[in-house]
Amino acid sequence: MKRSIHRWLIISLALLAGLGGHAQEIGFTAAVDRNTIATGEYVKLSVNLTNSKEGFEAPSFGGLVAVQGPFENSSFNYVNGRMSSSVGRTWVLTATAPGKYTIGPAKVRVGGGIIQTEPIVIEVTKGPARPSDPGAEQGQSRDPNLFASISLSKTKAYVGEQVVATYLLYSRYANIELSKYELPKMDGFWAEEIDLGDTNWEDQLQTVNGLQYRVAVLKRQVLFPQRSGKLRIAPVELSCIVNRSFFNRGSAVSTRSNAVEVTAMALPGNAPADFNGAVGELGMVVKADRTDVKANEAIELTITYAGRGNLKLMAGPTLDFPSDLEAYDPKVTDKISVNASGMNGSRSFQYLVIPRHEGEFPLEPITFSYFDTRIGSYKTIQADPMTIRVSPGDGGPVSAIQRPTKSDVEVLGKDIRYIRTGDLHLRPSGDRLFGSLSWFAGMGAPALAFVVFLGWRRKRENDLSDVAGSRRKQADRVARKRLSEAEQALRSSDRGAFYDALGKALHGYLADKFSLGHAQMTDAIVRERFSAFANGEVVANAFLNLRTACDMARFAPVEDRPKQQIYDEAVALIGRIEQLVRA
């Protein structure tokens, strides 16, 4: 084991010694293609190491920016027994601000020592305002054999109107290989790639500035400006390796295209309410597969937008289906092709609508508004109104009795209830019945009335219970009435009536006064009653005398006194009795 290691060492040393004798001197250089550039221009830095296989350390760029690289290349020659090799790296650098930049030394460690290159000073002057936009069709390129360009189908477009951008590469090299290219970021655009197919290089040659170029379409895009204003498309950067062959590693060439600008015009402000951003040359077709259905059968409602425009950005229509129609989210079908002429085709929204109840459901006419780029104004298409007639659904053989499914009344919105109209039953503010004077009066009045009622009733009852008293009270009045009758009879010389009335007056008066019945009006009782009074005897005699006189005159034509005298006596007597009883 130990022997074999020794043998390896010996062979290696011998080989090294032999090679070393033939080895060339090690070279290490750094070079730039120019020392003065303007901002935005490029400088190519190459670092080459010959006759060494060591890896070297890249230099610092001292503030310059590497836009491309490093591209590595290496070569190995064996000529007449002499061997030479070289490895190199290339960067493309640029600067954004003017000034002096120093590219630092590159270092390599060879045989215990360090070799380093000389620093390089790059002077950057202020370039033109937009160095990448020289205005010419030709892009910024030092190499007249290769340039790129962006061309637009139009430079003025409405927001949402499609613009086709074509990225072209012009080359005079026989052999070109695109190693890297970077498409600019689309700021302010929505971009859609156009599928170019397999063939990249166009057949025809094109002559630019007297030179013939082969033209390659790198890419085509349909651009839709998303906002108004000047929208800039930054240059496309690309690097190629040209003239590569079996023997040649080729050389790297980089270029960048011109920058282009699209003036995007804002859409007019008078957009219809249902406008949702469709721009182009469009149309709409609304189709329902049937309009007469049975309940719970599906209807397919298809709305197709077709034409040229930003079809892929189009949202479905907002449809207000009656709430008894169940509508599902639409199925979107695209038949959109994107080609050199832009985006064409159609986008369909297929709604599945299922009526749940029978009846007639008029659908609101579906409208579609878009901005027509041909005439530069909004256009609204209205589909024909459509009515869905739903007949009762099949009962079905299984469930013979089909109850209509009850559904809750859908609450679609919330709002306060409406105001009260008509008579609001206004009352003056602050006017309250309770506790007011009128309330107390109202509460007290019935009580007062009741008390009065009770008082009246008590009095009346007392009166009713005292019959004799009332008779006595009445006596005078009754007597007077009879006396006036008698007086009338006296005047008319009706003798019978006179004595009759007078007799009754006296008789009745006394009966009432003493609460006596007619049968009790005997002389004895009358005398007895009068005896209770002072001077009663005299009055009793006078009364009885007068009564007798009346009776006598009534039944016999005997008159001891004239009628007038008897009448006066009767009146005087009643007055005396009145006085007597009261005293």
């Binding site: 209830r417 503010s429 309330w439």
Partner: protein, 254 residues
């Protein structure tokens, strides 16, 4: 009371003729206000209703004013007027529904103590659309009571008399109940302890002056109970029992 007001109004008529509003004018203002509301001109409707409200009141009028405020998106005032309407007519379904909707816009969620929740039937019975209904009822019942007593006194038959007196006893009880309710309602209607926060945001402090500790923050539309006032500051109590002082003119009593 009515007569006194009338006499007063008549005496001041020459001076107040600009402000005075006859019943006919009030009715015409309400008709115009209703038309304006129907046409969607809520500002005009509110002005017309407000002029009437200065002198007249009714639950329906307050309710309409609340609706106008709601439509103008002045939720605190809407709540204020709905509460006023509800105080005059407890249990009114329309007012309750709109108040409920208006309260959804209130930021503060204070755990309200369960109020009288015996339902709107009880509310209608208690208050109805007329704050004076119990007072009026008590008047009729007192009249009926004495009338029955009189009939009983007059009645000759013993059984009839007993029946009438029994009925009058029941009416007396009813009268007393009515008076009690009327008194209760009177207290309720004249109670102005509740208030609605009108300012968007109110710092409720520990003492009735500025730059004292902020206890809590209230937002517009919240209902509070005013316990007392001092220097324009109001000591308010929330439904959950918290108490603090709210600055002047940040709330309005219902």
């Amino acid at each position: 009371m009515k007569h006194r007001i009338l006499a007063f109004a008549l005496a001041l008529a020459p001076i107040l003729s600009v402000f005075g509003l006859s019943r006919v004018e009030a009715d015409s203002s309400i008709a115009r206000g209703t038309a304006a509301y129907a046409a969607g001109d809520h500002v005009a409707a509110l002005n017309l209703f407000d002029t009437v409200c200065a002198e007249y009141t009714s639950p329906s009028l307050l309710y309409n004013i609340g609706n106008c405020h709601f439509k103008l998106n002045d939720i605190p005032h809407a709540i204020l007027f709905y509460e006023r309407a509800l105080r005059l007519a407890p249990g009114d379904e329309d007012v309750k529904a709109n108040l409920e909707l208006a309260r959804q816009n209130v930021v503060d969620r204070v755990n309200e103590l369960p109020s009288f929740t015996l339902g709107s039937t009880w509310g209608r019975l208690r208050g109805g659309r007329d704050a004076d209904q119990w007072a009026r009822r008590s008047l009729w019942e007192s009249l009926l009571f004495f009338a029955l007593l009189a009939v009983g006194v007059l009645a000759k038959q013993r059984t009839l008399r007993r029946a009438v007196f029994g009925a009058s006893g029941l009416v007396l009880v009813a009268t007393l109940i009515s008076v009690a309710f009327a008194s209760f309602r009177h207290g309720e209607v004249t109670d102005d302890s509740a208030a609605i926060i009108l300012d968007p945001k109110v710092d409720v402090r520990s003492e009735p002056r500025e730059s004292t500790t902020v206890l809590f923050v209230l937002h517009k539309g919240t209902k509070v109970i005013v316990l007392q006032t001092e220097n324009g500051w109001s000591e308010v109590q929330l439904a959950n029992g918290s108490v603090g002082w709210a600055p002047p003119t940040t709330l309005e009593r219902i």
